[in-house]
């Protein structure tokens, strides 16, 4: 398994535990962490845990199951950087209640989503002889 994909899954587990801890802290004392904690928790779990787990597994299995190599390793590497830059910025924006920071984080996170989507489409897509 490619190191990048293992990193995706490892980071997803870390986000899962971090997101859980934030929710637990909020449950125990709602005033301990400032800002929009439920939204931060929800996005850490969805974008950080679930989606990064899917990124790691998907980048490994979809090329194999489709019978062709990944369309772009470089794009997948940038997807890793982008996903892991965008989410912390978004979360920081919610906790600090700074909307423009949330927007920037959202754009960077979305860039990772688009890179994954395009890379997978071009990998799985049937085209040309033998495809």
């Amino acid at each position: 398994m490619h190191k990048r994909n293992r990193i995706f899954i490892t980071i997803s587990l870390i986000y899962g535990m971090l997101g859980g801890l934030i929710a637990l802290t909020r449950l125990i004392d709602p005033n301990l962490i400032p800002g929009n904690v439920p939204r931060a928790h929800g996005h850490i779990m969805l974008l950080g845990f679930f989606l990064m787990f899917i990124y790691g597994v998907g980048l490994h299995v979809l090329p194999r199951f489709s019978g062709f190599p990944l369309y772009s390793e470089r794009m997948a590497n940038w997807q890793l950087y982008s996903a892991n830059a965008g989410l912390p910025i978004m979360v920081a924006g919610w906790l600090a209640m700074i909307n423009w920071l949330v927007l920037i984080g959202g754009i960077v996170s979305y860039a990772a989503i688009v890179m994954f989507g395009v890379n997978m489409l071009l990998t799985v897509k049937a085209k040309g002889p033998g495809r």
């Binding site: 535990m17 859980g20 637990l24 679930f50």
Partner: protein, 234 residues
């Protein structure tokens, strides 16, 4: 000693052969590879040995058997290999292990439970006080259980590394169900302390899962015992 078992997902007797060989390689310190005939490594072996039937057993590069060996036959073939120290670390097979089957079953039950909101509220998530209940039945009950089932099955196969078994998957499962049901019950009866306890148990189940998955993704450099290479691990 290097043992290669040539199989295919569609071959029913291959599952039986793999089950027997996995049992044997847990006892012996051997290198064990399960190769799918549709993948490059399997194709190379088919071509090299001109194999026409699966499951085929190759030991140290020589064809030693066709079809399913009995447990006694398999043990006698690896008699010369040294015994392996007992460990909870196990390799994943083609089929789901019992714990992963239960995680998958639980996942489907939680999906049906969370989907009841569609009938009760006309939406998956209502805006009422029960919103966290439906939300967590879906995300924790359905999605997380499915991640547990598939992750613990696929990642050891993708990486070729063993996963912590024994009591650990059952501890993870107990914590998940206790946590989620506690969390839901806490919301429904309005007891905050039960909600918190439920959340702690869910978090602990994720922690146990992470501890089990970590050595699968990042094995110790010295861990070279009974390496299993799977069709999708390369």
């Amino acid at each position: 000693m290097k043992i290669e078992l040539l199989v295919s997902d569609w071959c029913q007797s291959c599952h039986q052969a793999e089950k027997i060989w996995r049992e044997v390689v847990e006892e012996k310190d051997v290198e064990f590879a399960v190769l799918d005939m549709s993948q490059p490594e399997g194709k190379a072996l088919v071509s090299q040995l001109r194999l026409k039937t699966i499951p085929a057993l190759v030991i140290d590069g020589e064809l030693k058997g066709i079809g399913v060996q009995s447990l006694a036959e398999a043990r006698s073939l690896v008699e010369a290999a040294p015994s392996k120290a007992k460990s909870d670390m196990q390799h994943a097979g083609i089929s789901l292990s019992t714990d992963n089957r239960y995680f998958a079953i639980a996942s489907m039950i939680y999906l049906m439970l969370s989907g009841m909101g569609l009938i009760i509220n006309g939406a998956l998530l209502s805006d009422g006080p029960a919103r966290p209940v439906a939300l967590h039945l879906f995300t924790v009950g359905f999605v997380l259980s499915l991640i547990y089932a598939l992750g613990a099955h696929m990642l050891p196969r993708f990486t070729g590394n063993p996963i912590q078994m024994g009591k650990w998957p059952w501890a993870q499962m107990g914590l998940l169900h206790l946590g989620l049901l506690g969390y839901v019950a806490g919301y429904l009866v309005g007891l905050h302390v039960i909600i918190v306890a439920g959340g702690v148990f869910i978090w602990l189940s994720l922690f146990v899962f992470s501890l089990r998955i970590w050595p699968v993704l990042w094995p110790k450099a010295s861990n070279n015992d009974s390496k299993i290479i799977d069709l999708v691990s390369q």
